[in-house]
Symmetry: C2
Subunit: 489 residues, 2 copies
């Protein structure tokens, strides 16, 4: 019967070992996986009812249910029309019942994020109907459709072909970025210092794989951007959170920093707190790190999104010794779907990164790279940014108005001078899980602050970039009620 | 003086240990790296002359030169205008003097490829002036500029925004692929069985990371596609080469195959030999692998490029038990620069792959995905493929004519019925390194067969897809002369 659908009913004659440290339900998962992998239970065969299995195993029915649910989620079992359960697959799926190291790293990490909260957020973000008050993206209505159409219109004459590109990306984009970084940000970088990545997250990924030693220490602001933390953890780094004050990271708290460590920082419009590192602090951080010969990874995803004035010059613009790797992206300013980011660093470093990039995905989409080139060289990107800044500033003001209306006495918050985020600190300790769940029931998807932090906190990352301004006001009113209700308990 | 350019001349008082097993030049590299890392030798300071260092170290000058060259290639040292050497960098670059595991895996691998040949090829492919008779890409003149312009023209009305996409990619593309795979290839796959990747190389990378156990055995055709082999090796798999006959892989030679192993195969227009797995062999391979519950990775990069008739149905089209993961791409048929590939497999598997993809680069370019969708749904892609098939067939005929003119008595070769490749087997054993070098001098870049193999061979992978047909004929004439010259020696 091997390999064919069958109606065979399976006979079970096994019991979990209740003395074993392994949870009973995991023993059941393992037993069933092994039976299927061995070919003892062919595809399509039906399992006994949950009640029967609970009886045979000598366990509660809920334990059997947990095991079945896990196996169904792996695709090993599937539900029957008749309410029963069948063997669904036996080759690839079996391998997944042992989760890969990758995910283990992420879930076993230092930080306290409630993983199921993150998973809920990732899932709900693709379901319509929620007001998303923490989403770190531009609202769809801010998408500059007309500009993009114009750029598309110019592509045919610009693109000679869509062949493979070299390790650093499209040479024309390297030149355009070199000129733009100099003019707009005072960063002196030759095209040979710039590698185009499929978004800056991939840049970070490559740096982790190529440049960092396993077990070495990475200092980050606490709290910090959760996806970056995950990448460092997956690559086997030890993370250390360093508190922020109003001027940025309190670098003097990096007690064991040395040339084997690394500082990952978001100096401008920090994610999730919105903080801008001050001019003085930037100078001090550079001096401190260079004195220790400790490299710096500067994430500048939001630097162009200032409202009234430019933030102080980036760390990279101050770097005379090649100790800063700088990462920029178009994902937060215009179009994450282009998947374009740039990594700026010493030549030898970007070549190494490019080399490994070629071994993983052969470079970023050349259509995207040509579009980015056109955006920069035409000047259209800069003009667009001016409009976007005004729009974001209005959205920030709308959020701040709502906060002073509903959150006085409940929380404190910063007034961001750029970027997407307001860091809302609640006065009283409430269960963030319960606030999250109640908000979800009320149709509001929020990002609890502990997702971003090394320890507990009672904060919420608000983003005024995504939700419709009126929706955001309405959601904040409801959220304030939910929090007050929990505070009273 | 820390961190600033200086004219300080460095004093050296150290000698390598000649008893040590470490090569002398490596000891010198290590010594200099450490001095710079420690900050003892500041950036900008000048090293003593090579002659002086050779004297101090008590070694040949050529040993010092090797060490200097390595450090210059890392960006740690740089050449001076005056002919001397300076300290160039000290933070990131130092880390690279310990090559990352990644590359170690690749260079320490089983297969005998001459790594410097591969590096030469990778480099020369971006230099003009060579006739590239082995390049596995479509010629730039085959780029369908007008078609792409038309697609660009339709994009503005098709693309609603360029936001982030979910783990499987653009839903519209999933639907288009599902329909196209069914109609053109008889593969039954729901959109939920399809993950869009940034090229099929990335698909392979994700599968290696997520689905395969370290140390597990991967069977491949011998010879096989070199980049796939590298990915498996980097992920810590053990590779086993299985010989090909005229009908495809001789599966009965997979002696230790079991459910922990994996078969990676290119059944249609195999790279590099051009072989098509026969109908009978396909059935046997499926039966053999399913009997062992051994999963199959089917790479179908060339399947659409048949000349007179479709190759036998893909393995995936025969797969009733979810044991085949199938990979397709547009890179070989039209536009590698789009970076679009697709992975087809059981739902749970593609979700896991998509999940990990989100953690690395957040998905493929959505512009590329929209363009691919439009190519498929408009039917323009199928029409284009018909033209391309005719063109490639004419190029194949041109290559075969040249071969019968110049290579009779020197080599044997196959007559491919699709794809890009002719596998040219030389009758006599000649040094492939010397043939490669002489051809390079004559302006011809070729891909020696041993790049693709587990052991020595005396073959050359010819591609009729890239070089201009007249250039190819000319190059083959010159190559025949070079080989004859070496055979006579």
């Amino acid at each position: 019967m091997k390999g064919f659908r069958t109606n065979q009913m399976i006979a079970v004659d096994w019991k979990p070992n209740k003395q074993d440290k392994t949870p009973i339900y995991r023993q059941i998962v393992k037993y069933i996986s092994e039976k299927i992998a061995a070919g003892d239970w062919p595809i399509g065969s039906r399992l006994p009812s949950q009640r029967d299995m609970a009886q045979t195993f000598g366990v509660n029915r809920s334990t059997v249910v947990s095991a079945m649910e896990e196996l169904i989620s792996y695709g090993i079992l599937e539900s029957d029309f008749g309410g029963g359960t069948r063997v669904a697959s036996n080759t690839w799926s079996i391998r997944m019942s042992q989760p890969p190291d990758w995910n283990k790293h992420i879930s076993n990490g230092h930080f306290r994020a409630n993983l199921s909260t993150i998973q809920t957020i990732n899932k709900k973000e693709f379901e319509p109907g929620y007001i998303r008050i923490g989403t770190g993206e531009l609202a769809p209505e801010l998408y500059p459709g007309k500009l993009v159409s114009r750029i598309f219109g110019r592509m045919p004459e610009k693109i000679p072909n869509l062949g493979y590109l070299g390790p650093l990306g499209l040479p024309e984009l390297g030149q355009a970025l070199s000129a733009w970084l100099k003019e707009r940000q005072g960063i002196e970088a030759k095209p040979s210092n710039i590698m185009v990545a499929s978004g800056s997250l991939q840049g970070l990924q490559l740096i982790s794989v190529c440049m960092l030693k396993k077990g070495s220490r990475v200092y980050t602001e606490a709290p910090s951007y959760v996806k970056s933390l995950q990448i460092f953890q997956s690559a086997g780094m030890r993370l250390s959170g360093v508190p922020l004050d109003d001027e940025g990271i309190t670098y003097w708290n990096m007690k064991e920093a040395d040339s084997d460590s690394l500082l990952y920082t978001i100096p401008s419009f920090h994610n999730p707190t919105g903080t801008v590192m001050s001019e003085v602090r930037r100078r001090e951080v550079m001096q401190f790190c260079q004195g220790l010969r400790m490299p710096i990874l500067e994430d500048d995803a939001y630097g162009q999104l200032w409202f009234d004035e430019n933030p102080p010059k980036s760390l990279k613009a101050r770097d005379k010794t090649g100790s800063v790797i700088y990462m920029g992206t178009i994902s937060k300013t215009m179009a994450p779907g282009l998947r374009i980011g740039w990594v700026v660093g010493p030549e030898a470093v970007v070549y190494r990164l490019g080399d490994v990039k070629m071994q993983t995905d052969y470079g970023a989409s050349s259509v995207s790279q040509w579009m980015m080139t056109e955006l920069l060289t035409s000047g259209d990107y800069d003009i667009y940014l001016e409009t976007l800044r005004r729009e974001l500033k209005a959205r920030r003001d709308n959020a701040l108005t709502a906060l002073s209306q509903y959150f006085k006495g409940i929380a404190t918050w910063n007034k961001p001078s750029g970027g997407f985020y307001i860091w809302l600190r609640l006065h009283c300790k409430v269960s963030m899980d319960k606030v999250f769940a109640d908000a979800l029931k009320a149709g509001i998807l929020l990002n609890p602050g502990n997702m971003y932090d090394y320890g507990e906190n009672h904060a919420i990352r608000l983003s005024y970039a995504y939700a419709d301004p009126e929706d955001l006001r309405r959601a904040l009113k409801i959220l304030a009620d939910i929090i007050e209700k929990h505070q009273k308990r």
